[in-house]
Each structure stands twice: as structure tokens, then as C-alpha cells.
Point group: C2
Chain length 397, copies 2
């Protein structure tokens, strides 16, 4: 029901490249170059300040939020875009803690993306007063949800291994002890079927430059469950979250519902690029995407394991327990990844030894997967990674 | 020493428009369209994830920060760009409060931009524990700096009237009572001569889409004085402010100096547009800019006052006490501004009765000012604003 050959044609992919890193930065939707250009030239250039009304800039954060909302199973009107994911984590967490003033413990796991933990540590330090970040191993989360927990802050899909938490079960457990559940969907939105409403999530946050293909530095998003939307304090209470931003009152009054999670002036050029990317998503059925993702990743695992016995699967073997990435452990993973990139296969490396490959059915097919397996087999089996130029670490890996 | 005819040629200005709203959104630098296009097509499109290293994306927040630093008198290496101004206000304020743990009062004034006050109110509420935002009239700030003040949070130039605080004097007063001084430079950076180092400012923040011409939603900037840079806690402690972001440690360690004020993934398309705008600023001498700004605004005031006795100057008459804008009060200011815009003169309106005009020597000259005066005289003296279509309020004004 989704035509993946048709979606593939809507992306620009450089010649000779197999791109298994859409889980870090999605590729360019072909239409984005013209759309961004038009925004710069015809809107900024010609409309100047009047673009906020005439070109609809001011409405973009909510409009884009709603289109993302469909992909994560949110109720219409309850997602807004803006800022970065780290900022949105902070906003969700501070808001949730204010809603559970009698508790002091934030529960997360050691597989969470470090920025979520760093942001939490900063907030805990600022709040003082007995606040605590409690970290357990990912497989111990369920039993660690005890009745002193204020908030669970979990990333559904592990950025290194692709291991997937059971969002519905953990959320139910959190609610059973009176805690609130925040879900980070960085590796879920556009990667797998997500149903934040069905799972009962209280807050969800995510980024749009990975599976959603919004471009480098594309804005983040935040979801607040309708039952909380008019009560949740926004924490970062900026003017565009005010009930009447252009009244310029001296006192803050939170806007209605999710609008209050807006903070400052939205990044219009980034939002237009994201807008283009979401045009493609509008045609995608998420169940079909998930089925195709599993098909491609199973083919990849089978091929790599057959060809390279020295690589160890770091991801769950059962695709139901994985997101849309596959990781292998290899002691010389950093150098090996450089060697792969040099040969046209782009994946990425995560310390200490994870070689990570993302599966993105919108623009990958069997031929890409088979070519990837060939290149990996060549690099690993012939130790092509064992070259000084592949050992040297770059700033961003 | 700065050739303002030459800088004017570097901007695209729509035909038939006199643009006196560069204090809200600067116009398009001609080079920006191609630069942003190239970033989209050649960098995002061709380099994909490797753009973070190959195209230098990861270094942009600091590189742009340094170029802004020169315009505000900052020491090299002590300004970084990112996020929005409201977020940077929060970061500076939370950081400053943590550095004065024995005090609870934040001093600001009723002329401050409301978002700064909203952000402060949100933080005060979150911190609880006796924290307080104390608001006084702008002219009472100096005497209100008493020894219970933890932090002064002031915008140098009033967004409505253009009234300019004495940054050096108020900072000295704050320091004399043991307080820290945060300066919001939203209407200063690129508008007037600023010397944060000379004035002894502890923190400064600002936006880049007004006088700096970075485009709609361009990133903000933050300055931390070198004496604090390695001690100031970043408050929003995201991964790109970590000492080693790509080590993916579980514990936050603040990066060196201003780098710790980075939070999440930078908006690359916006940063490239800003990069282009700063190319123009590299050729500008700030003393020459200030002299030219005063020359143009004095010409404007004289012309408008001679032609329109019903308008009342809302800005300080002495140009030394003004930023680079001129405001007039007029009961029907909203409708009058719509009528001006309809006739090709773009300024803006700020409640309740302020008609606001920005002076930006990079792309305005005497002919523009004289044409503006003509249009204003026509609209006001002939009551052309008295039409139903000019009364209807738009979302963004």
C-alpha cells in the first residue's frame, strides 16, 4: 500500500553511495532544494517581516507538529515543533516533575542517549532538594519502576544497539505506581510504528533530522497528552508559548494546550526543509514501513553473519525487539567504519565498538542491502580497515 | 571608512519598498540564496552525515560566535551561537543564579522585552525557595540595584521606545553590590557600538535576525565573560556542551569555556544564511555605523515632526540615549502602520500605541528616509489610516 520505489525516487542519493546512516541524518528530499530556495528568495527576500503572516511562518510549528503527530499516533493538535531535542527533553522533564511535586526520583537507563542524561543531571543539580536521577540497565527498568519514581525518562529505541523498550507495558507500569512517562522517540519517529496515545504516554519528544529526513539541525518536536495539555507548566516559558504573545503583557500566561510548549522564534528555513520531507511521509503507511524495514534488516543480518563470522550482532535478534537499525560489535569498529565509508557504504560508529547501520525503506531496497553486505565482507574478511588513515579519529563519528 | 553604498548593494530590497523594520527582521543578503542552496544541494545532498566534518558544520556555532563577538566587543573565543534568544536568556540567568547561591532577587525593568520576563517567571517558579523577579521602571533601575540583588537582567535598548541603558554604569553598580549583570543585546548587536568586555558584562545574549540580518529564525548567541567561562554552569547541559560529546559518557562534564553553552544539534541552514550576513558585517566599522545611524534617525525625526504635529516622539530626543530606532506614539498607531505598509513603508507597531521605525545604515540612505517621511505625512495628515481594512488585527504585528 506504500510504493517504496516511488518514495525512493523522491530523494537525492549521491552516486555510488549506499546510505545506511539515515538514523543519524536523513538524505535530501529532492523537492527541498527548491522549497528552501523559494523561502529564502520569495518569502524572506520579498515579504520581509510580513512573511510571518503572509507566508504562514508563524503557523509552521503547529502545522508540522500535526503531520509528525500522525506518524507517532498522537491525537491531532497535540504536537508542536521547535528547538532541539535536548531542549524538549528538558521542557518535558521539568514539566512532568512539577506535576509530581511530592516525588524526587527520575528513572532512566544506561542505554539512554547521553544528552537526555546530561540534561537531566543539569536539571537535578539546579533543583537540588533531594532530586535524583536513578540509572539502571535497560533490562532492569521494569522492576525499577517503584512508587518513589516521579517520572520515567526512556528512549524507546537504544541508539547503539537498536533494542526496543515496550512502551505500552512500561508506561502502564509507571502509571500503576503514580509516575509519569516521558518517551524519547529519536530513533522511533519514522522508524517504527509508534502509538503514543494508545500507549498512554504522558510526554513524548523526538528529533526530525534522522528517520524523518528534515535536514541538518532540523527542529525537534514535543507531544503532551491531551489530559495534561492545559495543565502542564511549560518550564521554558517563552513569548511564543504565551496565550497572547503580541499583547506584550508583562506577566506570563500559558497558551492553550500544546501551544504553550513553543518558546522562541521558529527557524523558518529548517522548517521549510522539514515541510518537504513530511510531504513524502504523508503517503506512507507505518505498518507497511515497519514490515519493509524488518524485511531489509533481516536480509542484512543474514548476509553479514554468513560472510563475516568475526562480527557479533549487538542488536536483538528478534525483529520485534529492535528498532530500524542493526548494530554489530567489532573491536576495530572505528577503523572498519572508516574503511566502509571510503568504499561508499555509509554507516556510523558508536563507542566503544559498535558499527551501526540504519534501515530506511523510503530510499533503500534489496540491491542496496546486497551491495552493503559485499562491501562489509570485503573490508572485514580482507582486513582492509588495518590502515593508519582509518585509525585517526574525527570530531564527529 | 565603511562604504554604505557598497553594503546597500549587497542586500536584496523589494522594488518600491522603504524598509524601516530591520529591527524586527533584517532583509536578505544577496549572497544568502546561493549559499543556502549550496548547503542544501552540495553539502546535505552530497556529503550527507559526513558534512558535520567535511563541510565544517560542527564548527559553525563557534565560528559565527566569534564574528558576532567583534561587533559587541567580546574577547575572541567567548561567544557561541545556537538556540533562540529566550533559551539563551534562560541559560544565562540560571547560570548566574547558581553563581550567587546566597541571593534570591533578579532585577529587571518594565521596558524589558516580555519574553525575558516570561522566561524569568518560569525559572523563578521552578526554583521556588524565595526566588523573586523584581520589576521597576527603566529609569529606576540604577537606584534599585541594592545588595540583595543576585542578578540584573536588562535589555540595553528598549524594544518599544529605543531608550538606551548605560551598560557600563549599571554593570559597575551591579558589581559594586556583588550582583552579576546579564545584558540582552537584541536591539544592540549590529545597531550601536557595544563593548561587553569594556563594560564588564558577566553574560550577554542576543538574536541575529534583527540588525544582523541572519534571516527568519536565525540562531541566538551568548557571551560569557572570560573570568566566568570555565566556572559558569551551563544550566541546559546538552551533549554538544560536553567536554567530549562523542565519547558518549553517561556523566556530564562541562566543556571548556563558552563551548559548554552549546546544547543540541545546530541548525545548519539557518547558520549558513547567518554566515552570509556576517560576511557583510566583516567590512563594517561600528563607530562609522553608529554615526550614520544617528545621522539618518535625526533626519527622520526632524522631517516627521515638521510634517506631523499629531505624532509624539516616544524615543529619547538625545541620540546618545537611543538605540537605532525611532518610535512615535499615535492613538491610531495600529491602523496607521497598516496604511503605511500598504503604501510601501514597512515599520511595525507595538501595543498600545507605538509606531516603530528601525534605522539600519547597511541598506538605508537619505533618499529612503525622505521617501518615508513623505509617506508618513500623507497617511497621517490626510487620515488615510481611517479605513476598516486597517483596523483588523493580524496575528503578527
Amino acid at each position: 500500500m506504500t510504493d517504496f520505489a516511488a518514495t525512493k525516487a523522491l530523494f537525492h542519493l549521491p552516486d555510488g553511495i549506499v546510505y545506511l546512516d539515515g538514523n543519524s541524518l536523513g538524505p535530501l528530499p529532492r523537492a527541498a532544494a527548491a522549497r528552501v530556495s523559494q523561502t529564502v528568495t520569495d518569502e524572506w527576500g520579498e515579504m520581509l517581516i510580513t512573511g510571518w503572516n503572509k507566508a504562514g511562518w508563524m503557523a509552521l510549528p503547529m502545522a508540522l507538529g500535526d503531520r509528525i503527530g500522525r506518524l507517532i499516533g498522537a491525537e491531532p493538535g497535540h504536537v508542536v515543533t521547535g528547538d532541539t531535542l535536548s531542549i524538549k527533553v528538558y521542557q518535558a522533564l521539568a514539566s512532568a516533575l512539577a506535576m509530581r511535586p511530592d516525588r524526587r526520583v527520575i528513572l532512566s537507563d544506561t542505554g539512554n542517549f547521553p544528552s537526555d542524561l546530561y540534561i537531566t543531571q543539569g536539571l537535578v543539580k539546579m533543583l537540588g532538594d533531594g532530586y535524583e536521577l536513578r540509572l539502571v540497565a535497560p533490562e532492569e527498568v521494569a522492576e525499577a519502576i517503584t512508587d518513589d519514581i516521579a517520572v520515567t525518562l526512556l528512549t524507546e529505541v537504544d541508539y547503539r544497539t537498536g533494542r526496543k523498550h515496550d512502551m505500552a507495558a512500561l508506561t502502564a507500569k509507571a502509571h500503576a505506581v503514580g509516575a509519569l512517562a516521558i518517551w524519547d522517540l529519536a530513533h522511533s519517529a519514522g522508524a517504527i510504528e509508534v502509538d503514543v496515545a494508545g500507549a498512554g504516554a504522558d510526554f513524548a519528544v523526538g528529533c526530525t533530522y534522522k528517520y524523518l529526513n528534515g535536514g541538518p539541525g532540523a527542529p525537534a518536536f514535543i507531544y503532551v497528552a491531551p489530559r495534561h495539555a492545559d495543565q502542564a507548566p511549560p518550564a521554558l516559558s517563552g513569548w511564543l508559548g504565551h496565550a497572547a504573545p503580541f499583547a506584550f503583557d508583562l506577566d506570563y500566561r500559558a497558551g492553550a494546550g500544546i501551544e504553550r510548549m513553543r518558546v522562541g522564534t521558529p527557524p523558518i528555513l529548517q522548517m521549510r526543509a522539514l515541510d518537504c520531507a513530511l510531504d513524502i511521509w504523508d503517503s506512507v503507511d507505518m505498518a507497511a514501513l515497519r514490515a519493509r524495514s524488518i524485511e531489509l534488516s533481516e536480509r542484512f543480518i543474514a548476509g553479514v553473519e554468513a560472510a563475516c563470522p568475526t562480527l557479533t550482532l549487538a542488536s536483538p535478534r528478534d525483529p520485534q525487539n529492535r528498532g530500524s537499525q542493526v548494530s554489530f560489535r567489532f573491536d576495530q569498529g572505528y577503523a572498519a567504519m572508516q574503511a566502509l565509508i571510503d568504499r561508499g557504504l555509509i554507516g556510523d560508529f558508536r563507542a566503544p565498538d559498535i558499527m551501526r547501520f540504519g534501515f530506511t525503506p523510503l530510499y533503500l531496497d534489496e540491491a542496496d542491502i546486497d551491495r552493503a553486505i559485499e562491501i562489509i565482507a570485503d573490508v572485514i574478511d580482507n582486513a582492509l580497515w588495518d590502515q593508519p588513515q582509518y585509525m585517526e579519529r574525527k570530531a564527529v563519528t
